[in-house]
Subunit: 408 residues, 2 copies
């Protein structure tokens, strides 16, 4: 058989993309922990730690809070297929690639999907949602809290109010926001909120934490038709994760180990400190980029997502050349744009373990070098200087996420 597939020898990367983020060494250690069977009493007890920690991070008392055995997009599918029945109507606020995906997935059911749109880089006007839903029976209003594809954050309260007026559930995609920016599921009265493991939680990709409230539980229990997907059906999973530990499918044990450790790190750092770190590192990044003459893709500062900074690529600069040089020369990965941003925007992620002052300063320095090499002069040293000034103004260095030993 094939001996052409050699040893696994990946390069070392600084991941400043909108996910996956770099991962704390403690999480890798957890991932390499030898397996225990999923029906082993030790495992069925230990897995209960994950909902305990997730509830704290989602800020909810919801009983049904667990990590779906799938990527973040599996979270979208679970949220949508469990709530919609044939003939239902729903509204999806579309302002980017991932909110668009929620609409696309909802359209796979036999429900009617009303899209309320805004351009990439803008928020959806709640007034448009109100208008679209007027006089209709709307099952849910779905939206992305943070749009990974365009770097926009939306204020949940505005949509909650419209959803209340329409008697609709609110489904929130928090893939790019959970554990990176303020989010309070119970206070914001989110009915279904899901996220991804590999963003601000800084666990490896492959799980989608989700929380659903009792109103959704009731809707699922009283459905007239079965959920189209067996894999994503909430009902058996509510037993598996809800306490009875009934067998449904074999969960990704190693990913649960990694997730548990990543959640412990979030709990140790504390949400307010973690949000502040993300905000400060982004502020320093923006200060640096603007000092280099680079413009933000999202015009309104209050609408900028702290975890993903989208910028307009300077005129005359070739997107892929810059990203390739950053990767080859510095091992730094940033992302290109999606949709209308393709070739025109960069997206710089500062999420979870990747949100560190050293990454910000190195990136600004590296970008100055790369842009210069490609014939685009920027004021020498201005980016780094502005970022340092931003940190000094913030009165602290916003350095490292809390790691092992910090709480001894």
């Amino acid at each position: 058989m094939s001996h052409t597939v050699g040893e696994l020898l990946p390069p070392t990367r600084i991941m400043m993309t909108p996910g996956p983020s770099n991962v704390d060494p403690r999480v890798y250690r957890a991932m390499a922990t030898p397996l225990v069977g999923h029906m082993d009493p030790w495992f069925t007890e230990m897995m209960g730690d994950v909902p305990v920690l997730l509830r704290e991070i989602f800020q909810t008392k919801n009983k049904i809070t667990y990590p779906i055995s799938a990527s973040g997009s599996g979270g979208i599918e679970a949220a949508v297929v469990n709530t919609l029945e044939p003939g239902d109507e729903c509204i999806v606020c579309v302002n980017g690639w991932f909110s668009e995906r929620m609409a696309v997935i909802a359209e796979r059911t036999q429900a009617k999907v009303i899209r309320v749109e805004a351009p990439y880089g803008r928020t959806v006007d709640p007034e448009d949602v109100r208008r679209a839903g007027k006089g209709r029976k709307i099952k849910f209003v779905g939206l992305a809290h943070g749009e990974t594809s365009s770097g926009v954050i939306q204020k949940l309260a505005n949509y909650r109010q419209v959803a209340d007026e329409l008697g609709a559930l609110m489904i929130v995609d928090a893939v790019a926001t959970l554990a990176g920016v303020p989010l309070d599921v119970d206070h914001d009265r989110i009915d279904i909120c899901f996220s991804g493991s590999q963003k601000a939680l800084s666990a490896p990709p492959g799980m989608a934490p989700i929380t659903i409230n009792s109103r959704v539980e009731e809707i699922v229990r009283t459905r007239k038709t079965p959920v189209g997907s067996w894999y994503f059906d909430f009902t058996p999973i509510m037993s598996m994760w809800g306490g009875e530990r009934t067998y449904h499918h074999t969960p990704p044990i190693s990913l649960i180990y990694g997730m548990r450790e990543a959640l412990r790190l979030v709990a140790e750092e504390g949400l307010p400190a973690r949000w502040a770190r993300h905000a400060q590192n982004q502020q320093a990044l923006i200060a640096g980029l603007e000092a280099m003459g680079i413009e933000m893709w999202v015009a309104t500062p209050a609408e900028r997502l702290a975890t993903v900074t989208a910028v307009t690529i300077p005129a005359g600069i070739e997107d892929t050349k810059v990203r390739k040089q950053l990767l080859d020369e510095f091992g730094i990965e940033i992302a290109g744009g999606f949709g209308p941003g393709k070739g025109k925007a960069w997206r710089v992620g500062l999420m979870g373990y990747s949100s560190q002052n050293k990454n910000v300063l190195l990136f600004l320095a590296a970008l100055e070098k790369v842009l210069g090499d490609q014939g685009h002069r920027v004021p020498a040293g201005a980016g780094v200087a502005a970022a340092i000034q931003s940190y000094q103004g913030a009165g602290q260095s916003s350095s490292q996420p809390v790691t092992a030993g910090a709480h001894k």
Copy 2:
């Protein structure tokens, strides 16, 4: 926040269940390898190794061969929802919990599902399938090659012939067989074959390797209705894994690292040696158990699945007490029965890295001790002696799977 969730300190287990199996240390090392982004050129190149190795192990030239980002049950769902359209009819051969699951998942679509049943521990009669399909337009005949729930293996050629007569596809659940018992996708003309990562492949759970032939590709491309599931839709995944590396969802990078390493181990050992190891260890196990007076659940030797040995619990013995003592005193996990086997059968897995002579001998010794402690005397030392004799008769020790260094 909560500091009640302590360090991850699992017990050490010998996993003799029908999955997950123990995992080679090389695979854990791969799992702990720092992440690289899923759009990183290194990653998009490396991920191509996985289909290369999977094709060798499935024994197929199928272009579309990749690991689904879900558990083995996700493999069932993908196979079923991509092929069935509203109004279609299919036949599922049900002889246990997991073939039953295929029927249940198919019933979630709007297709008609015809179940052809056999009791747990028996094979489905191909003549029954022929009768059930007669005069009907059958989209596929689905079956479990190995039924994990009852320890039965079925001969694929018999069902292939009936499927041919019916003009139907053949979908094969090889979760419990791939890399443990002979399976040749192209020779057996399986149209869709899927497996799970955590059985005889001995990778951690969380991925479902699948292979589909060009006939299925064509069926998927010419569907009249969209696939109900976005997550499991073959079409975008065919681009993602097929070569173009188009972004669909973020794959579980660490699990792909682990899978790649586990597949390399299979390739290094070679399929014939690996099949022989599984067969010999099971023969020794059966010889030992029978010498202790324990009867096989599957009466017909040719129908016994090499990777999962189901036995009848001796009269007067309490299922859970024995399993608890094996776990507490020896760290050995075996599984109970499913359905009609619940409380009446044990299932002993010898899969992948768990299929070792040392596990067989220790288990027989431990079982003798535990049964004795619970008042059930067996001939002293007879189990271990019979197993040793079985190994000596086989002319080799069928010891360890091939590990690091073996091919230097």
